[in-house]
Amino acid sequence: MSVTEPILAIHDLKVGISGKRRDDRAIVRGVSLEVAPHAKLGIVGESGSGKSLTTLSVLQLLPAQLTILEGQIEYAGEDLMQASSERLREVRGGEIAMVYQDPMRSLNPLLRIGYQIVETLRAHGVETEPARRRTEQVLRQVGLSDTARVSESYPHQLSGGMLQRAMIAMALATSPKVLIADEPTTALDVTIQQQILDLVAEIQADTGMAVVWVTHDLGVVAQLVDRVAVMYAGRIVEQAPTRAIFERPAHPYTAALLGSLPRPDAEHRGQLEQIGGSPPDPLQLEAGCPFRARCPYAIDRCAEEEPALLDRGAGQLAACWREPELWQS
């Protein structure tokens, strides 16, 4: 156990289609993560890697056809899997808040912004008047200083960046202990994205709220989080402090992702490192390491046995049979 107790801990989470006649089919295949208070964790992965399903499982918000097949989810020592639906409603949007890529998924298009934030607070036991004051306060905190106008607006009357801020204001209104953000800046322009990243970092420094940031953008990871989990085909293939991920990736997939980015100092129009192939269908995985078909370092063993996520020292974990010196040179 680490020095600080984690505020949120996921143990061996498996998510998938629960089989009535057939066996269960898992898409998230055994994910364990911990976030301490004040910590910023990044989850990186491509579409289909299971990163969004992992975060949706925390508050049991999975799409109807998917269920948690196995695993525990602990919030401040409390087992959320055993929590009553009443308790879960309290935690959702109260102690643990979520923001999504599309603000329209969280905001009701027919209700004014201010009303929606006040209602969220009231649902969590705040009286109307204090809720109004708090709404004004959080709107100002996210940089929407014309609070009266924003409060009176319907979602369609605000620009994309303003909407994303309003959604973050709503998430922050209840002073959550954990903020889970699923690609909240992916659809935004870089200038607006920068504002949101700085805003979250600022609020996080003030309140000590833990942040889980899901993204496919390694640039965002480098700028925002302390620790990174890289997901591939439903599992974490590498987990390490941010600096280690960039300086000495311990998994060939992480190394390949880093190599494929056009860097400012790279040769203009030069060859980018290709990974080749495409991510596997999570429901049709074969035995062995799911990355092996695209991996230049694959050996026979990789086809036989899926590597476990093992400690490589200095807080770095990787799931690979080969030695990282192969691609770190």
């Binding site: 870089v190 920068q194 700085d198 480098a222 494929s260 056009p262 790279a266 990974i275 991510p279 695209r294």
Partner: protein, 331 residues
């Protein structure tokens, strides 16, 4: 001097407003040029007009005013070549290959259709030519009978490129060609585009909000802001030594995949300014409300696009003064 394959002069595009709303000016006098065999990168935030410009260039829409010259052929609001002739010259590749490919046509039919419409192949030659085009984008023939849903994102985008190449165009307009793809396959599509350009001598217009990709690919870059070009020059000049404060904010906001780069630059502060206006001011510089360098004149006079250093233009009063370029005469 190399051949100017594409030249757009003072393009204005106005869309009618909704019901009683005022008309929307998406392009407010844009001029760009592209040398044969080179790549012109267009960057800007959403609403800057970069995709609108792409649609005018490729002939999907006709500009309200201004002239586009493509390999000597002139397109204006009044005169334009036959759409089919235009299509032989310039083709477009869109962001999402799954919405630009017909889901009910196989790869072979999707590409074959183009060849037949343009009378470039018939009968048996269609099959041969489709195979040839697929091999150009590094897809084996076994992909020909597949439907789009049987392809991965990277494969589908390569089919879209093959389809665009079927008419042997001289110019490709690439509108966010990698943005909808998984990170791990973006490099593959970029490498393919570079190789095709070298092999076929194609000229590219590369529209993207991904500045690192634009930088990687482009020779010249134009930066657009609310329907105007605010900076124009070589990729090095524009991105390494930006003159316009908007370009500086834009380049500073790109998250660099390097934890050591976590330093707050001055212009990151600028990007954080609270003002998020939906409507830029009608008078003066449209960037002025967000600009950390704004001076009195910026609120009243629209800065013209001036050459401030050789082959490097910017539309900014402050940058012009710093470069020692005389400000435009008033009015």
């Amino acid at each position: 001097m190399a051949e100017l394959i594409l030249e757009a002069r003072d393009i204005i595009k106005t869309y009618p407003g909704s019901r009683r709303g005022a008309p929307v000016q998406a392009l407010r006098g844009v001029s760009v040029e592209l040398e044969a065999g080179k790549t012109l990168g267009i960057v800007g935030e959403s609403g800057s007009g970069k995709s609108t410009l792409a649609r005018q260039l490729v002939g999907l829409e006709t500009p309200t005013a201004g002239t586009i010259t493509l390999a000597g052929q002139t397109v204006t609001a009044k005169t334009r070549p036959k759409p089919r002739d235009l299509a032989r010259l310039i083709q477009m590749v869109f962001q999402d290959p799954f919405s630009s490919l017909n889901p009910r046509l196989t790869v072979r039919d999707a590409i074959g259709e183009v060849l037949k419409v343009h009378g470039l192949a018939s009968g048996d030659t269609v099959r041969t030519r489709v195979t040839e085009l697929l091999s150009m984008v590094a897809l084996p023939e076994r992909f020909a009978p597949r439907y789009p849903h049987e392809l991965s994102g990277g494969q589908a985008q390569r089919v879209a490129v093959a389809r665009a190449l079927a008419v042997e165009p001289r110019i490709l307009v690439l509108d966010e060609p990698t943005s909808a793809l998984d990170v791990s396959v973006r490099a593959e599509v970029m490498n393919l585009l570079v190789r095709l350009q070298d092999e076929l001598g194609l000229s590219y217009v590369f529209v993207s909000h991904d500045i690192s990709m634009v930088r990687h690919m482009s020779d010249e870059i134009v930066v657009m802001y609310v329907g105007r070009v605010v900076e124009d020059g070589s990729y090095r000049d524009v991105l390494d030594n930006p003159l316009h404060p908007y370009t500086r904010a834009l380049t500073a906001a790109v998250p660099v995949p390097d934890p050591d780069a976590r330093t707050a630059a001055d212009f990151r502060q600028a990007a954080r300014k609270e003002v998020v206006l939906e409507q830029p001011p009608e008078v003066g510089c449209p960037y002025q409300p967000r600009c950390p360098l704004a001076i009195a004149v910026c609120a009243t006079v629209l800065p013209p696009l001036l050459t401030l250093t050789p082959n490097h233009q910017a539309a900014c009063h402050v940058a012009a003064a710093e470069a020692g370029v005389a400000p435009a005469p008033a009015g």
